[in-house]
């Protein structure tokens, strides 16, 4: 196995820079920031008002209870509870958009030919993957800090416990999005364009779920196949009902398997 840490870090950092030095990257950050600004202002802030309103408490209890999210209502950091609910579902989907072009664009343009004379294919795949993880960490940090600021503005005494909970969120969310990034790394090894990579990802989730649904209907034991889908644990994770294996083990194993597939296919493909 030819893996050089320095080259790996260089490739990953180059990806991170791509987000902040290119027009398309900056545009993505701007769109992302505006969306989250709206979410914070009209989603989280309003939801917190509703959660703390005695008029709505019974209704909210009912809704959250029915959705299995009662645990979230017990948190004093209501902003973080709402943030968690939104982030745990939106970041993986956002991730599919963000990571559509990990290697496919460079392969079509021939840029990978310059790169592959200076880095192994494994370093390219892993470096790009790590770079995308860096980008997601950056974006998650921005949103978490903004939510924390809102929390501290409402109730300064909640800042410290909120900060600790934010670190936990960051860890869980990064691990939750990793298999989505790895899935796009894999799809990028055979897709012919970034757009096609996104379509393949959607087909994988939509078509795959239908096929496994039908198989499970015939043979319930095949429900285990659901574990091939990144995000299978998200509902349990959102409700804080997932054990360590489900919230950390499953996505890490999925990530590893997808990256191995990606590397194997990439190592055999023509550039």
């Amino acid at each position: 196995m030819q893996l050089n840490t320095k080259r790996l870090v260089n490739i990953a950092l180059f990806e991170l820079v791509r987000l902040f030095l290119t027009k398309t990257g900056l545009l993505a950050v701007a769109v992302f920031s505006i969306c989250w600004l709206l979410v914070l202002r009209y989603g989280i802030a309003e939801a917190v008002n509703l959660l703390s309103s005695p008029d709505f408490s019974q209704f909210i209890d009912y809704i959250f209870g029915a959705a299995g999210l009662s645990k979230l209502l017990t948190w004093p950091e209501a902003e973080l509870a709402i943030y968690w609910l939104i982030a745990v579902y939106s970041f993986p989907i956002f991730c599919l958009f963000l990571c559509t072009d990990q290697t496919v664009g460079d392969r079509q343009r021939g840029t990978l030919r310059f790169l592959s004379l200076r880095a192994t294919r494994m370093e390219i795949i892993l470096g790009r993957f790590i770079g995308q993880v860096f980008i997601l960490i950056t974006l998650l940090l921005i949103t978490l800090l903004a939510t924390l600021a809102m929390l501290a503005y409402r109730e300064p005494s909640l800042f410290l416990p909120g900060l600790l909970r934010s670190f936990l969120f960051l860890g869980y969310l990064i691990i939750a999005v990793m298999p989505f990034i790895a899935l796009m790394s894999f799809i990028n090894t055979f897709a012919r364009s970034a757009r096609l990579a996104f379509v393949v990802a959607i087909l994988f989730f939509a078509g795959g779920n239908i096929i496994i649904g039908l198989l499970t209907w015939q043979l319930p034991a095949l429900a285990i196949l659901n574990y091939i889908f990144p995000g299978y644990q998200l509902a349990d994770l959102a409700a804080q009902n997932a054990g360590l294996m489900l919230s950390i083990g499953v996505p890490l194993i999925q990530t590893m398997v997808l990256l191995i597939f990606a590397e194997r296919v990439f190592a055999r493909s023509s550039l």
Binding site: F14, L21, R109, G110, T111, F114, L117, R268
Partner: protein
């Protein structure tokens, strides 16, 4: 001479199409090597195999004793692949610095090195521009510069001067010539006169099969060749040249061009030939000692 590249029975098949048919050759450290052949002959396929972009269907190919794509070759083997482009979104200096860093240079060294290679191809002023803001020829020169980063031992340039204006094409040729003491260049081009000027060894590919030539050759101990290009068509030129005492055979290779086979003697044949032209009142354009590469490849008869 140390062997840099060894290919033994290398075959590449794309589906039912045989792109390379059991190609065997060896390239040693030394003057530039030309890779020639018509479109679709397999030149880019051979380049791609040597760079590790694709893999042979069978046969053995090693560069400095390693398989293509091996990490030991990073920085020692560089290339200008045909039609490959830099990322249009980043500045040129940013990308070249990144490549330098991947080759093991520090960020400061890589930046300095990038500026140096850009100067070599006359693109120093464009360092902070993005590739999409440059013309085709300028982009080509920038991509040539990336192949010169560091101290590569082998540089493969696929159609390096295609699309360049004559002045810059000449500059690139001069650059290759100046660097060929330290680096072995492998060049593919359709401009045979360009390759003739630069290269010693010539690998000729046709329909996936390889033959070797030297840029100017085919003289033996008692037999020599010259290629004479006249400035205009003279009807009886073939007959007049044939009448010279040491001439064995005259062959009109193309319009205004004659390949003359002669018997070597104490007298200088080229002087005799030029005197003959002078006496006839004929003007000549070029006298080449030996066969031109073009004639070797396309006018074997």
């Amino acid at each position: 001479m140390s062997s840099l590249i060894k290919a033994s029975g290398v075959t590449k098949q794309f589906g039912s199409k045989l792109a390379l048919d059991s190609v065997t050759f060896e390239i040693n450290k030394g003057p530039p090597v030309a890779l020639v052949g018509p479109n679709g002959a397999g030149k880019t396929t051979l380049f791609s195999l040597m760079c590790g972009y694709i893999f042979p269907s069978s046969g053995d190919l090693t560069l400095m004793g390693k398989r293509p794509g091996n990490a030991h070759l990073f920085g020692k083997l560089t290339a200008l692949p045909q039609d490959a482009q830099l990322d249009p979104r980043f500045s040129i200096i940013h990308q070249l610095t990144f490549y330098g860093q991947l080759q093991g240079l520090s960020k400061v060294q890589a930046k300095k090195e990038s500026a140096r290679v850009l100067e070599l191809v006359g693109m120093g002023d464009a360092a902070n521009q993005r590739p999409k803001d440059l013309s085709h020829g300028m982009r080509k020169r920038v991509t040539i510069s990336q192949a010169l980063i560091g101290q590569p031992q082998i540089v493969m340039l696929d159609e390096a001067t295609a699309g360049l204006d004559p002045v810059h094409a000449r500059e690139v040729r001069e650059l290759i010539s100046a660097l060929s003491n330290e680096t072995t260049f492998i060049l593919s081009s359709h401009d045979l006169s360009e390759l003739e000027r630069l290269c010693g060894q010539v690998l000729h590919l046709d329909n996936g099969k390889l033959t070797e030539h030297s840029a100017l050759s085919q003289s033996t101990n008692n037999q020599g060749f010259v290629t004479l290009r006249l400035s205009q068509q003279y009807d009886d030129a073939e007959k007049v040249f044939s009448s010279l005492p040491s001439v064995r055979h005259v062959h009109k290779s193309q319009a205004k061009e004659y390949v003359i086979e002669y018997e070597k003697s104490d007298e200088a044949f080229d002087i005799q030939l030029l005197q003959c032209c002078h006496l006839q009142g004929w003007h000549y354009q070029q006298l080449i000692n030996g066969h031109t590469l073009e004639n070797q490849i396309f006018h074997k008869g």
